[in-house]
Assembly symmetry: C2
Homo-oligomer: 232 residues x 2
DNA sequence: ATTGCTAATGGAACGCCGGTCCATATGGAC
DNA sequence: GTCCATATGGACCGGCGTTCCATTAGCAAT
């Protein structure tokens, strides 16, 4: 019988373990070695204990990684304390902050999920909702729009960032794009009419700008419906 | 030394293995048991062979799952043969087809990635691009817009669909949403002002509609910039 | 102080996995 | 029939997540 939450209501001993401590160490190892490199044995060694002890505070590896990813998400809006300026541009700032946080911890990108259950994922959705409520959108659409934005932020960030884990670290991002561009050029124009004439844009493609471009499309759609084109 | 592509230029023997055969069997096992349940041993047994033989046609498990996911993606637009009606609504149909395909094979959702290298992922982006080119958008924006839509489709589908794998199959989707709603209601309104007053919308939330709602926002943003509000 | 109990520890062990190795077989080319 | 690249499949390796359990640290009551 073990606790998922390793609360220490009683004092706690000297070099006491705790979930926070474990998750923190896990984040470091994940940054350094990636998800595949994180091992309970290795983590235990880093904390000067045995694997068994960790399971008192964390129920399994999935939960550990989820908690670690949630901590990364928390870092995203730690820097952006509150609700500045106009709602839509505040949404943009928030979204980019999340993207940047995940960019610094690529392993986390595929583990932030919605609908949220973990603390910081909840906080993110709440902040988005609060901002959406300020846009003048009718109240019955708040939830759907907030969720859509939340999904976009985490989902598209994951799409953009996660693939980097796979690719060999020895090959630079630019080289990879160049290789991809060349492969596209060699495709049959009959089967791939669009890709074969679009490789140029791929070469000078910047992930972060791409994320923002799509975000702007989404937020433009929001503005359109908030202030309809035909004001009848 | 082994081939990644197990071409059979020479005839091939009786019950010959092939990459297609293996990937097909993998899809079945993945549908039945999920990603964790797929094992080279099990797959080998299903094909009446040994694990070692599989590695002649597939270089490792990551590649196998990626190929399986790409096959699922292929099913998405197999049913929707070509480019019907108006461009934007054709984009919507295409997007929903992908969502539905991933919905039927949840394990695949987190494995369709962009920028694409696999055959059907490439096809998807090409189709999107071709449709975007028909919207009257200036050519220099085609790539960015197409990529944004592609990211939205795969990324948001993954966000919506992937979590279901984790949750116990014994608990229904509706029960899960009701549980989540209740948990949100118990949050502190001071910390989560938005969530605590929005639980009602969560209860009658439908994933597919949610996907479409966000998609419409995105496509509205596209229309806005394609036919600007202030035409001058 | 002594005792009893719970929270917590950590190392050994279990079962299984992805992946490799290699002895063997198949079937076309000559 | 001989040869050889193609292909097979079972044994095996190292390592993983997880469980088990003997042991300890600290608190409360005596």
């Amino acid at each position: 019988m073990q606790r998922t939450r390793g609360r220490a209501p009683t004092g706690g001993r000297a070099g006491a373990l705790s979930q926070e401590l474990i998750v923190g160490a896990a984040v470091s190892l994940l940054d350094e070695l990636g998800e595949r490199g994180l091992t309970f044995r290795l983590l235990a060694k880093a904390l000067n204990t045995g694997p068994g002890a960790l399971y008192w505070h964390v129920s399994n590896k999935d939960e550990l990684v989820a908690l670690a990813a949630d901590q990364v998400l928390g870092q995203a809006f730690a820097a952006h304390p509150s609700l500045e300026e106009e709602a839509v541009s505040a949404l943009r700032v928030l979204a980019v902050a999340v993207f940047d946080a995940l960019d610094r911890h690529p392993w986390a990108a595929s583990h932030v999920s919605a609908p949220p259950t973990l603390a910081n994922a909840l906080r993110l959705l709440d902040r988005i909702g609060t901002l959406v409520a300020r846009t003048g959108l009718p109240a019955e659409r708040h939830f759907a729009v907030s969720t859509a934005i939340s999904y976009y932020i985490t989902g598209v960030s994951a799409q953009i960032i996660a693939p980097r884990i796979t690719h060999d670290a020895t090959v630079s991002r630019d080289d990879f794009l160049a290789q991809t561009a060349q492969r596209w050029e060699e495709l049959d124009p009959a089967d791939y009419p669009f890709l074969t004439r679009t490789t140029q844009h791929l070469r000078d493609h910047a992930d972060r700008d791409q994320f923002i471009a799509g975000l702007d499309m989404l937020l433009d759609g929001l503005s359109t419906t908030a202030h309809p084109r035909t004001p009848a």
